[in-house]
């Protein structure tokens, strides 16, 4: 499963992204997670096939704009990361992993 995180600069999410790859592997799911900033996420979406687009909580006020811009990609799940699931620590990322699995199992 290919997952993209979007935050302001793509820096803080990069850490959580790496942790999510570890946690998902432990739980038997192969997740490829990348982090981008709001200025370049769209180009990356155009260049590659993603399954999930997750918007970091600190930019949740931009969620509507981002969701709208991603509408043209079919089969792309777009969600906000809940604030209590956003820190690069095992128990917190585990919650995020469950959240993603739940959202993609429609």
């Amino acid at each position: 499963m290919k997952v993209m995180f979007v935050c302001a600069g793509g820096m803080s999410t990069a850490m959580t992204a790496k942790k999510l790859e570890e946690v998902s592997k432990k739980n038997g799911v192969e997740m490829n997670v990348k982090a981008f900033g709001t200025t370049n996420y769209l180009e990356e979406l155009e260049n590659d096939n993603y399954d999930v687009l997750l918007v970091a909580p600190q930019i949740r006020h931009r969620f509507d704009v981002i969701k709208e811009s991603a509408e043209k990609f079919d089969d792309l799940t777009v969600e906000k990361i809940p604030p209590n699931m956003y820190a690069p620590m095992e128990p917190i990322v585990k919650k995020l992993f469950n959240f993603i699995m739940e959202k993609t199992n429609k």
């Binding site: 935050c7 302001a8 820096m11 803080s12 999410t13 850490m15 959580t16 200025t39 970091a56 909580p57 600190q58 930019i59 949740r60 006020h61 931009r62 509507d64 704009v65 604030p83 209590n84 956003y86 820190a87 690069p88 620590m89 917190i92």
Partner: protein
């Protein structure tokens, strides 16, 4: 009562305010100026080369003094004319947000902005473009003319008053023809205003913006965005990104004035509070001056959770990334930690502002990348003043002291939770 306030903070204040900052034009200004930051960072570093932080009689300092004009040329062509780059970026972002061609929008914005500056003929050189207003001083004019240009482009496009090519014509050719009518309108309009009516864009706008710019350099003018940004983060919203949409143009103007003065060899720079002031003396470890909290968590905590959090957040914290802390502790909607999160930056602001207004520490003139560790960034941002390192370290100690009692409360609470879990 506290819970109610926290819900109010999140639902009624931070989120709606942040949405306001998502307004299309503000977004375009923000993205356009953010795109010029690499140019400003690299350009401003030539200032350190021109005035190396070494003894005045050393060979390097003498060489630099002799070659100063040449050393500063890269700066003149980058940061010194940053509004030109910003104009293109704003035009590009705004036209993209309307689903119009970005390159045409960027170019048209540059045309409109350049037409506010009247070329001069100089004997032996030919036509020259006075550069002063292409820099920070012209930022507000760049913002206005870029928006004006793209709005004209959008209106022309919507009204169907444009040259449309048959389908067989390649897209790039068709695009350049489509841009013809808006370009003509922009050029004619700007010629009438700037050349025929001789309207002084830069003098006029500078007069309107002067009070705002000078207020932003006062102590209350610094405290206001500092507090506002921590309030946003307390609800988990990226405060700098929201407040920066409006404040960054002003910060850039202040920085440009300081850098220009430094390039002229000024001893004391005119302004205290361009963005590097916030970055290196207030937001150490990230917004909220969280460096103190992360140090305490990593080295002084007793509970397992606080220790793990401290170790995870320490490395990013040194490089001024504190989201792991803000969402991991969490600080978001957590009254115990919100108090020092607002208080620590306020104290740092007052101490640093006083130190700089008393001229104990050099004022910032260089934009150093924000992910540098605090003392290094402070040193570079002030053009190599060792006293800036001392001030930065003082602010770090203050941050530790302010966070300490609240950290204790937090750590003890975690410890309680952990022993409860064990006994269950």
């Amino acid at each position: 009562m506290m819970d109610k306030f926290m819900t109010w903070l999140d639902e009624k204040f931070s989120t709606p305010m942040a949405k306001l900052a998502e307004q299309r034009h503000l977004r375009a200004i923000r993205d356009g100026i953010v795109a010029t930051l690499p140019i400003i960072i690299v350009g401003s570093f030539f200032l350190i080369l021109a005035f190396p932080p070494v003894p005045k009689d050393s060979a390097i300092a003498i060489w630099a003094a002799e070659n100063i004009v040449k050393i500063l040329l890269p700066y003149r062509l980058t940061m010194y004319i940053m509004s030109l780059y910003a104009a293109w970026g704003i035009g590009y972002s705004l036209s993209r947000s309307y689903n119009l061609d970005g390159v045409s929008g960027g170019n048209l914005a540059v045309v409109a902005f350049l037409m506010t500056i009247i070329p001069q003929a100089i004997d032996g050189i030919g036509w020259v473009l006075p550069m002063a207003n292409l820099g920070g001083a012209g930022m507000f004019v760049a913002i206005i003319t870029s928006i004006l240009a793209v709005e004209i482009m959008r209106l022309m496009n919507k009204s169907g008053f444009k040259i449309t090519m048959p389908e067989q014509v390649p897209a790039s050719v068709a695009r350049s023809f489509e841009a013809l009518t808006p370009t003509a309108v922009v050029v004619i309009l700007m010629t009438i205003v700037s050349v025929v009516l001789e309207f002084d864009w830069h003098g006029f706008i500078a007069k309107i913006m002067a009070p705002l710019v000078s207020t932003s350099d006062t102590l209350p003018g610094v405290l206001f965005p500092v507090v506002l940004i921590t309030v946003f983060w307390s609800a988990g919203i990226h405060g700098v990104s929201v407040v920066g949409s409006i404040a960054r143009p002003i910060w850039t103007v202040l920085l440009d004035a300081n850098t220009a003065a430094a390039a002229e060899g000024a001893k004391v720079l005119p302004h205290i509070a361009p963005e590097p002031f916030y970055q290196w003396f207030i937001w150490i470890g990230g917004s909220g001056a969280t460096i103190g909290l992360v140090l305490l968590l990593a080295f002084a905590s007793k509970s397992k959770y606080a220790k793990t959090l401290g170790r995870t957040a320490l490395a990013p914290g040194i490089f001024n990334i504190n989201e792991p802390l803000i969402f991991g502790a969490p600080i978001v909607l957590n009254p115990i930690l919100i108090a020092p999160f607002i208080l620590a930056p306020v104290v740092n602001t007052i101490v640093s502002y006083v130190a700089m207004s008393m001229e104990l520490v050099s004022r910032p003139s260089v934009l150093a990348p924000w992910t540098l560790p605090g003392p290094i960034g402070a040193y570079l941002a002030t053009g190599g003043d060792w006293k800036a390192i001392v001030l930065n370290l003082i602010c770090i100690v203050l941050s530790v002291l302010i966070y300490y009692p609240f950290f204790k409360l937090y750590d003890n609470k975690q410890l309680e939770l952990e022993t409860e879990e064990l006994s269950n």
